[in-house]
């Protein structure tokens, strides 16, 4: 059996998730043993239009990017969204909180804001443009989780991606709950799989892996009251990664 061909493409993002793949270091040799990487701008110069698996990093912010993603989709058997920008729009959706995108352009780019390549629309996650088969969450992604998901797909097994909150891993690691310090932590509503590195480092969960499938948003008011916090405190934390 010939090896599956994999292509990695980037859109609006910092390319840090691709860098996480590079950070697999010697494990990259294992990766290229089992797949043919045919395009990957960050790591090689070759390009190809023929691939089985397309891995998409970044969010979609321009007409031409949406078209490019549609072409990639039409060529790929499996399309994977890589990292928060691709899976949910990520940080790039911060601008969706403003009504006037022209104002945003001017604020960010000054007089260059009117240049044609900066003609962007409201940020979209990949699945708001094309059908996405699998999502690898996080900002950045976790390299070990990426590797496990790729290996699962290669043996025809549905990859395990948790649908439980970060609290599960946070408690298993015996971190002290941020709510004990009266801080707003998004852990109870955000998808696990990261192994809770932020609370382990003494910071709250910022929500980079997105909401669990069925978050209890109705509980917010009463629970925040118990900590003398407000729903606004919670919403402000959600803006960073989970804007609409």
């Amino acid at each position: 059996m010939s090896k599956p061909r994999v292509a990695i493409f980037d859109f609006a993002c910092c390319e840090g998730c691709q860098l996480q793949i590079v950070n697999l270091e010697e494990e990259i040799l294992n990766l290229i043993d089992v797949v043919d990487v045919v395009e990957w701008r960050e790591a090689m110069s070759e390009q190809s239009h023929e691939y089985d698996i397309a891995i998409i990093e970044g969010s979609i912010t321009r007409e031409e990017d949406a078209k490019r993603l549609e072409v990639i989709r039409s060529r790929a058997k499996i399309l994977i969204a890589l990292g928060a920008c691709a899976t949910m729009g990520g940080l790039n959706k911060l601008k969706n909180n403003f009504d006037d995108l022209n104002e945003v352009r001017e604020c960010v780019y000054g007089k260059d804001g009117q240049m044609p390549h900066l003609n962007t629309f409201k940020t979209k996650a990949c699945d708001e443009v094309v059908e996405v088969d699998f999502k690898i969450h996080g900002c950045p992604i976790d390299a070990a989780e990426f590797a496990q998901i790729i290996r699962s797909l290669l043996v025809g097994k549905t990859p395990f991606v948790p649908d439980y909150p970060v609290c599960v891993e946070c408690k298993a690691n015996e971190n002290i709950c941020r709510y004990e310090y009266d801080e707003v932590c998004l852990g109870p509503i955000i998808r696990a799989g990261c192994n809770a590195p932020c609370p382990a480092a003494g910071r709250e969960c910022f929500g980079c892996r997105g909401l669990v499938d069925n978050p209890n948003v109705e509980a917010a008011q009463e629970v925040m009251d118990k900590y003398n916090l407000t729903v606004d405190d919670l919403k402000q934390k959600l803006v960073l990664f989970n804007s609409k």
Binding site: Q148, R151, V168, K171, A172, E174, V212, N216, V223, K226
Partner: protein, 343 residues
């Protein structure tokens, strides 16, 4: 078996010698402003005056994640058998009771080699509680003291420890404590006083019935409104499960290696509050509602598990779930008492 007394300095020397031997020693240590069991590398770091640990010592018999077997895809499989010996130092009586219950559960029916191997390799030193934690209710659950499962029982009587060896393993270890003296009646009286104080005072929440009344109470409480009321605030985050010394449910996942020909089967802690805990083949989830899952935990503790282990109630009153629950809805005492009000 012997009952002796040792000074705190003598005990520290004993711990230091243990730590310096090739024996793995696990003990309670400070973690920021809380406590946790961890490998002990310095006798001075041991904190037998702790109130409660973040996680129970369960993690040494049933680790958060462990490999059960290594396999070849569509080929042979080889069971991984844990065989590491360790001394577990400073287990509180309520946690000992929880381990005793799990010992029964994992050895009945399908004998769980992984759990039982770990258990057989652990020497447990229990210590009576010195500092009650903010939510402990062991007194209500009759677990403020314990009378089995440990190899050594340690009680702080002020200037010294009373050390009771309960097994051959424990006796052999006690013999290595330099300066141990046979306990006098006055010492065992002091120990009794400590234990009686704990039996009365480890009770920050008071269960208004006997633990043994819980199965009958729950028999009639399936449709009680409390389940819906509480579950409205439930994040389904499973924190109550994770920190519970008697929650032993696990999930099993296969992981494949880069050669795509070999892999390992791993189990990790699961929790009945998590939304997909009861999802089975065909994607059917038979406890999809938060309230159903919320109720299930309290039924496990008060009715289902007791049905497997001669009526022993599977809540030992450590109070960890009360502290760990972000929404502050997990207190078993509060819920059981509510059921009594309207029953």
């Amino acid at each position: 078996m012997s009952v002796s007394t040792v000074t705190k300095e003598q005990f520290k020397s004993f711990v230091a010698a243990l730590v310096n031997s090739d024996q793995k020693v696990v003990g309670v240590q400070a973690k920021d402003d809380k406590f946790a069991f961890g490998e002990l590398t310095d006798a001075d770091a041991l904190r037998l005056d702790y109130d409660v640990t973040i996680l129970p010592p369960k993690k040494y018999v049933l680790p958060q994640k462990e490999t059960l077997m290594n396999f070849e895809v569509a080929g042979a499989a080889k069971t991984v058998c844990p065989d590491e010996k360790m001394v577990l130092l400073g287990v509180h009586p309520y946690d000992m009771v929880a381990i005793n219950q799990m010992d029964e559960l994992f050895s009945q029916g399908e004998y769980d080699t992984h759990y039982m191997n770990r258990r057989d390799n652990i020497t447990i030193i229990v210590c009576d509680v010195v500092t009650p934690s903010e939510n402990v209710f062991a007194s209500s659950m009759n677990t403020a003291t314990c009378d089995s499962g440990y190899d050594i029982l340690l009680t702080d009587i002020g200037d010294r420890f009373v050390v009771e060896a309960a097994t051959e393993k424990g006796e052999a270890l006690v013999k290595t404590i330099n300066g141990a003296k046979e306990a006098a009646a006055a010492d065992t009286d002091k120990r009794k006083a400590v234990q009686e104080k704990n039996i009365a005072s480890l009770n920050k929440h008071t269960l208004e019935c006997k633990p043994s009344d819980l199965p009958d109470l729950l028999e009639k409480a399936y449709d009680h409104p409390v389940w819906e009321e509480k579950a409205k605030l439930c994040y389904s985050c499973g924190s109550c499960n994770q920190v519970c010394p008697t929650c032993y449910c696990f999930d099993v996942q296969d992981e494949v290696n880069w050669d795509l020909k070999t892999g390992s089967r791993c189990r990790s802690w699961d929790g009945c509050l998590l939304s997909n805990f009861a999802t089975v083949a065909g994607n059917h989830n038979f406890r999809e509602n938060r309230a159903d899952r919320f109720r299930h935990r309290l039924y496990r503790k008060g009715k289902y598990v007791p049905g497997k282990i001669d009526g022993q109630i599977a809540c030992v009153g450590c109070g960890r779930c009360i502290s760990a629950c972000t929404s502050k809805i997990a207190n078993p005492v509060e819920i059981y008492n509510t059921l009594m009000e309207k029953a």
